[in-house]
Subunit: 606 residues, 2 copies
């Protein structure tokens, strides 16, 4: 694909394409057989979208980049304590092949120098050489999202000439940082370094680290989440040999390079980047790799410490129930009650990823609104994750609200929080799967509390409907003769979308919902409105003659007065005064609806 981002990458690529400083690694002859001009760049986002340019599909040996992933594996296998007993995490200030064992503990200073990497490979579980190596190869493959193989010639050559690494291994054995058999560990290490990857593989591996340990292309978990920060930490302080300080200063990404010419960098939460170019500088890093990263970091402003200032956008909006209500249509007087008393119900819609600073904003808002609010409705519909630490804070917020005798309703359709932790008797939290239902519930509570005879138990008499207000008794008698009455079972479809209108319905008892026609196999589509007894529905289509715009379902056994289109037409002919009064009433009802809609649009758009 060719979008703006790929064109910028292409420009960076062209900038360095002809650049030929540095020399291919030559400590074994097999490494010199590469084309020194190979050059590839690849970027993967944490939602699995990739950009690639140049020799992004050319395989080469992973070399030291493997160290970061093996370190991750042993953290997963043994836990950080056991790993800490054998390998430190301090930069050595020395070259990659330095021996650098801590004089006091005997531990290699970090897992990115050869000594630490061999100690790490020695901790990879498995029975025997083949089994241990296969675990590594298979985990690396999961990281890359493709089956990786080995450059056997490079492996044989590394093995045949790796005397210094064998010496390091025996020194490690001497201080008990490596178990027997020593030879096996070194062999696995040589073979691990000879695994073939492409620039694309490395970018996906990097993106898996950026994505909290889940490969964003395959969706597979490849590293435990708690170990991701540990691997990245060591990459940030020790990943680029003794150029690591400069690298963080100039590029600002945790990264790892290998003498095969690969470099990968990770912008946590966002991106994995890989560059492949075999010519190396004296410190063993790919020359164009470093240059490309410096330019990408500047072009895209990727430096980790240049993270933009977090603003208050975690709170999508907040409002009172008196300003934005549910989609249930009620008696005007009930709407008035909600408007009068709805200030104490506060809806807070959150969005994005909720981590500490985001939660701190919520805590502050909750503190500010605490006295004036008796019900908090917190909508997590647009929240993609809440980390455990932040969930702890939310739990405390919930307790505070409970302890003060207030109510908390949480809307969490995608279950981003662990409900079990909130289901204790001491915490008064209700969960709801959609905001509209929660708002309706709050409205019902308000009406129950503030309206004397809140809900009608029998049938609402027809003359109590707003539709017939200001009609005198003679006029009402005339109307009575025109009304039919019909009862509907629960889950009966009263009106069907697309039908020609025949009746206005006056809901005398029960409850109905207005639903869009379902698009999939579900029995009912999205609910766009609901009605209480005393309210009429289907009036708009009758007045303007348009087709029914939605289905109407009985939510419970319901009874309606039916007022037909034909009767209305007859009234227009025979009783223009009555007709006129009814039209005016319909108009008044809809003016009221329109005003509420306008207010709601105002609140929603603000």
């Amino acid at each position: 694909m060719d979008n703006t981002i790929s064109r910028i990458l292409a420009k960076v690529y062209e900038n360095y394409r002809g650049f030929n400083e540095g020399a291919v690694a030559d400590y074994i002859p097999e490494l010199t057989s590469v084309d020194p001009n190979w050059y590839g760049i690849c970027v993967f986002t944490t939602d699995g979208y990739g950009y690639a340019i140049g020799d992004a599909e050319q395989p080469f040996t992973i070399q030291s980049i493997s160290k970061a992933f093996t370190f991750g594996m042993i953290l997963d296998d043994h836990g950080p304590k056991a790993v800490d007993a054998r390998i430190g995490v301090e930069p050595s200030g020395e070259a990659f092949n330095s021996i650098s064992l801590d004089p006091e503990t005997g531990r290699p200073l970090n897992p990115m120098i050869n000594a630490g990497a061999i100690a790490a490979t020695g901790m990879v579980q498995g029975s025997g050489f083949e089994d241990r190596f296969e675990r590594i190869r298979s985990r690396f493959s999961a990281f890359a999202g493709s089956e990786l193989s080995v450059d056997e010639a490079v492996y044989r050559s590394e093995s045949a000439t790796g005397f210094r690494n064998r010496a390091i291994a025996y020194l490690l054995r001497n201080v008990e940082k490596l178990d027997d058999p020593v030879d096996e560990a070194v062999e696995v290490y040589f073979k691990q370094c000879s695994i073939l990857v492409t620039c694309r593989d490395l970018a996906v591996m990097a993106a898996s680290l950026a994505n909290g340990g889940v490969n964003p292309v395959t969706g597979e978990r490849v590293l435990q989440p708690e170990n991701v920060e540990k691997v990245l930490s060591v990459m940030s302080t020790c990943g680029m040999y003794d150029y690591s300080g400069e690298w963080i200063f100039r590029v600002g990404l945790p990264a790892k390079s290998g003498v095969g010419g690969g470099v990968l960098g990770v912008l946590p939460g966002q991106l994995g980047v890989a560059v492949f170019s075999p010519r190396l500088d004296v410190k063993g890093n790919s020359v164009r790799g470093v240059k490309t990263f410096v330019e990408l970091s500047q072009s895209f402003n990727l430096h980790l410490f240049n993270y933009p200032v977090v603003s208050g956008h975690v709170i999508r909006r907040h409002y009172k129930l008196s300003d934005v209500g549910s989609n249930r249509q009620r008696l005007k007087s009930h709407h008035d009650t909600i408007r009068e008393h709805g200030d104490a119900v506060r809806v807070i819609e959150l969005q994005g990823d909720i981590f500490f600073t985001a939660m701190e904003r919520l805590v502050r808002l909750q503190t500010e609104l605490f006295d004036s609010t008796n019900t908090f409705v917190v909508d997590l519909t647009r929240v993609s994750l809440i980390d455990r630490a932040t969930e702890d804070i939310l739990l405390t917020v919930a307790s505070d609200i409970s302890d003060a005798g207030k109510r908390l309703i949480v809307i969490d359709p995608s279950e981003v929080i662990d409900r079990g932790r909130f289901d204790s008797e001491s915490v008064n939290v209700a969960f709801s799967s959609d905001l509209d239902t929660a708002l309706e519930f709050c409205e019902d509570q308000l009406i129950d509390k503030h309206v004397e005879a809140p809900m009608v138990s029998g049938l609402v008499p027809f003359h109590d409907f707003e539709l017939f207000q200001s009609l005198d008794s003679n006029e009402l008698s005339r109307i009575e003769g025109l009304l039919e009455m019909e009862s509907f079972d629960r889950d009966c479809k009263i009106v069907e979308q697309g039908e020609d209108p025949d009746y206005m319905y006056l809901l005398a008892k029960g409850s109905v919902g207005i639903h869009l026609s379902p698009s999939n196999g579900a029995p009912r589509g999205q609910r766009v409105a609901a009605f209480c007894p005393g309210v009429c529905f289907g009036d708009l289509a009758v007045v303007d003659g348009s087709n029914r715009s939605a289905d109407v379902w009985a939510n419970e056994p319901s009874t309606c007065y039916l007022f037909s289109l034909a009767s209305l037409a007859r009234l227009a002919e025979e009783e223009p005064v009555i007709h006129s009064k009814i039209l005016r009433n319909i108009l008044l009802i809809n003016i009221d609806r329109l005003r509420r809609c306008n207010q709601e649009i105002g609140s929603l758009k603000s």
Copy 2:
């Protein structure tokens, strides 16, 4: 204040309150006079909100924490190249008082060891000791948001005993990394280390770094934005002496400690944290400082590399003009035109801070919608910042849209982008200060294009109004006698909020806007609707008798037919059929409005 966050801080504080490992620094007697039990924690957010507990107001000497801020100062004064010529940025792997000069270049390895810090202080501009020190004191004060003073006794003692530091200074002079007079630089360095700060001061200083170099309490810029990442980079690799690797591994924040017992840490974009506790470990770091940071980092999940995965929330919502329009009320036929052709106008509302990954999502969406869209409306109202690198990408996006002969409208009321860069002839970008105006403009364009006689030039005849549709010629004559006609100057207030309703207005020519009463001195409040010729307004209040709910202003010279409440009442008496027809028409007009409102609420709530 006592909210959930401060209670969690209090818990951490209580955990370590009785902890008394470590020893107060004693290399000069003045440092031993502190109370070893002092313990304070302070957190400041990047919007300037603070939490403090314990001895947060107790002054102590800043010591090595000063090194980070002096390094920032010289980057501001001389630029990174000149600084790079004298001081490296690689961790030394050795103790803070090591000499660590690079054997090749003679540069101190980094500015956090004494050698590098003295070289840095030597670069602070000014004429003479007093002047140079005062510049440091005053910049540190700006960082802290309070006037800092010096512990003169500590300074005299440091100066009297600082032989090793003098030796380092002369070695620096020897390799020309320090200018004459050598003594002056060392004296300034001693005095800089003796500046008194509180835990609160340090937290604000840290928050200033987190906030991109702007003190979040005072709003003052204290460090150039491009140098913030550089200071934080060096803190991350070298800030905690030879515990820096472990620190990043366990805490994951760029940090700096001093032997006075202070430690500060920075979560870029989010927080500054400081802890004060004078007992030190063998590496010179505050024991409780380290423990507190480890616990805070875990409790609040602050580790830099545990940054949550960025999700697509940069795009607040996107929709077609056919689904959500401006608040201008038009002829029904015009609304139909907009609904029919508005699919090709795509509104994209962005939110939050726009950095690379966020922009990449926009680029992807724009690519996906490109073929089906001819006008992109990008709303930056809720965007707080776009960094320069990302602005470059937006500029490319704008060119792409222009090159394809499409249109881009950017809503940028708070000028987060540099408009000058977009004002070139080759880029077809229009700017608008509010979304509603932009939507209205797009609607006008659609009507111009798709409606044969788009805008009326003379007066709309009264019988063309929907209000009078289906009236026969006799009925229309009757109506004509009831209408008055009035013209209004531009900026005339036609209707005033709160008035009793007297007339319905039929806009025959011109344009009017419905505005809420202004709350401040502005002549007009927020515009909630606007009307085109052929549309009536003020009808709702006339029908239901409520007070005028808003002001109506003439946007240009305008002419209206006026239809009075009294005439309507007379019609009800004398001509019920006409009255009934008119009511039905008002009802039809408002049913149409209501349907549009409901559709819009649906789009907005989704």
